[in-house]
Amino acid sequence: MKDAFGAPQSLLVLGGTSEIGLATARRLIARRTRTVRLAGRPSPALERAADELRELGADVRTVAFDALDSGSHEEVLGKVFSDGDIDMVLLAFGILGDQARDEEEPLSAVQVAQTNYTGAVSAGLVCAGALQAQGHGSLVVLSSVAGERARRADFIYGSSKAGLDAFAQGLGDALHGTGVHVMVVRPGFVRTRMTAGREETPLATTPGAVADAIVTGLRRRSETVWVPGALRVVMSALRHVPRPLFRRLPVR
């Protein structure tokens, strides 16, 4: 159960090697979290992540989970929930893709869309159903500012996150009053392995800062969290910039 400050006792991270996911898990273990399930494709990195969290004192187990294999989600995640209540699900998986290559190879673009959107829809719905049955819990969805307005530089990734964002908002409304809380987190440029070597955009942030914002959002039961918070203002202005002008902006 979550305590008065929204700190969960059990956590399921979908995308168990996600840096934001692990940074969040570390902060939550320092509070109340004792049970962590890391779901991801079996890999040494996933086991390393689990070992690292175990050292912090949590009961950590890994779960073989593939975002692209939507058919297996019901069974894999159903089993996690049948072992005990999950107070918080962090939907953290996603790939950035390579914009230039994806434009030339539609199939690799489809993979970005399938991971970030289709996979998240199926996993999100399965988790939402299980959370609703237990009458409490938070579903935290990692969206991105890239989904707020498509940019030339990453519109394939951005469009998949736009779909995910809209899905998560709608799901949050659908679950209003069921005891389940859906939180959409929209970070800006986060310095991680995924973005290594890319040019930073202004207001870049770190996985730790995103994790802190998630912990605060849980306490406040926020529905939308921007990281850093200033992006809320920046993006609401950018959203209304006319297209001809938007195309000419230095940061696209």
Partner: protein, 449 residues
């Protein structure tokens, strides 16, 4: 019996969860709600005055007992009342005071049900002499997991587990309570100021006169030499001859003051440092060095906050956390450390009350234990509050004290066993009486009770 799905929180308005709410009108309907429970169990709920998550059950059933609100019999010869568990103490006072009887124990609100008062084993400002609520329970009817109704008498293990048992042994359906006679519905009140915590402790320890109700409103914002300054209020039920001549015609009238309810939406931060400091300053200055012989209505003296319905909304959407702990005699240093810590951090603590506790009751998870008790409310959004309260938990546990479970919304399961030595007995009795874990609440899940 009406059934609906609602989101519920405790009085602190934190951690909402959703459950199926049953509102039985008869004992049979209550039994149906319990036997027809789903896999996530059932718990009884009264007026929702517990600050934490004791009376909610995520994804399960919650039996709202407020529909079972009949006062069955009042025996004015022996001073006992038989009533349903859903009757509020307010209703009992309305009925009993005009007859010259009063409840021997009332907590700081009268809007709790009899069942809730038993499940939380509440205590009042007169704990030193009167003990806690369940000391005055002569018998009760308990609906257990199998749907059977058992008569539970004091002195049995089931009574000890149910007294302060947070509704986890069953649903209390009705109870027989013993009462105390009063001559009037007014209290004679003496207030005095204490310049710091030492003086407050000394004054509370001194058994001045025969004033059984005693508590100190402590100013947790005061710093330096004034750390822990307090306004003490003692009182007793006024005898008839203490009343002014006009009031003697209607000595037993029960007319609580009532303000308009707090608005539904209050911006967060209204109850912050400034207002906490201001209120404390006004209270301290307004109290005068010593004032004796003042007459107050029982409601204003014992339940001042009840005059403002929905006062918990004043904390805004974020809600608040109520922290209540007890430490034994001789652990005054712990009190000093806690008060100093809160005052150094300038915590905007509201309704902070320091009082003495007498002999504890038989309840295994019952809170009151001999010594001192300090309680206060803090806005849940206060930065660093979770960690601060964790440290206070450690300090209290180290001093052999305990934190009140009925008010708790945030404790760690690890610290519990040290605070409640009878926890193992409680778990064993539940395992035997209720092997499927029919009675469950968010609190019991969070703390693995």
């Amino acid at each position: 019996m009406s059934v609906d799905t609602v989101s519920m929180t405790g009085w602190g308005r934190t951690a909402p969860t959703t459950a199926l709410r049953f509102r039985p009108r008869t004992y049979e309907e209550a039994a149906v709600a319990v036997t027809g429970r789903g896999p996530r169990g059932v718990v009884a709920r009264g007026l929702g005055r517990s600050h934490g998550d004791a009376a909610q059950n995520a994804g399960g059933s919650v039996v709202d007992m407020t529909g079972l609100d009949r006062v069955h019999t009042i025996d004015t010869a022996t001073g006992t009342v038989v009533c349903d568990a859903g009757v509020s103490l307010h209703r009992l006072m309305e009925v009993l005071l005009p007859l010259g009887w009063f409840l021997p124990v009332t907590p700081s609100t009268r809007y709790v049900t009899v069942g809730g008062a038993i499940g939380s084993d509440v205590h009042g400002r007169n704990h030193l002499t009167a003990g806690s609520f369940t000391r005055h329970v002569r018998s009760m009817e308990l609906l257990t997991a199998d749907g059977a109704v058992r008569t539970v008498l004091p002195g049995t293990t089931l009574f000890d587990a149910t007294a302060g048992g947070l509704g986890l042994t069953g649903v209390v359906l009705s109870a027989t309570l013993s009462l105390r006679p009063v001559a009037t519905s007014l209290m004679t009140v003496v207030t005095e100021r204490a310049a710091d915590l030492d003086e407050a402790l000394a004054r509370l320890s001194a058994t001045a006169g025969h004033l059984p109700y005693a508590a100190a409103r402590i100013d947790l914002m005061a710093r330096g030499k004034a750390t822990g300054r307090a306004v003490l209020a003692r009182g007793d039920h006024a005898p008839l001859d203490a009343l002014p001549p006009r009031a003697r015609h209607t000595p037993l009238v029960f007319r609580p003051a009532q303000l308009p309810a707090a608005p539904a939406y209050v911006p967060e931060g209204l109850l912050g440092r400034t207002s906490a400091a201001l209120l404390a300053e006004l209270r301290f200055r307004g109290a005068g060095a010593v004032r004796a012989g003042r007459l107050q209505r029982v409601s204003s003296f014992l339940h001042p906050l009840d005059a403002l319905p929905g006062w918990n909304r004043l904390y805004g959407r974020g809600g608040f956390v109520h922290y209540r702990f007890a430490v034994g005699e001789g652990q005054e240093q712990t009190l000093h450390r806690v008060v100093r810590r809160l005052s150094l951090r300038r915590c905007p603590a509201f309704h902070a009350v320091l009082q003495r506790l007498g002999t504890g009751g038989p309840g295994w998870l019952s809170f009151p234990a001999p010594g001192w008790s300090l309680s206060f409310g803090l806005p849940a959004g206060l930065p660093g509050l979770a960690r601060l309260l964790d440290r206070l938990d450690d300090e209290v546990a180290e001093a052999g004290g305990r934190v009140c479970l009925a008010q708790d919304a945030r404790m760690r399961p690890e610290t519990l066993a040290a605070m409640y030595p009878r926890l193992a007995d409680f778990r064993a009795l539940r395992a035997e009486l209720d092997p499927d874990g029919a009675f469950r609440s968010d609190l019991s899940r969070r703390l693995s009770l």
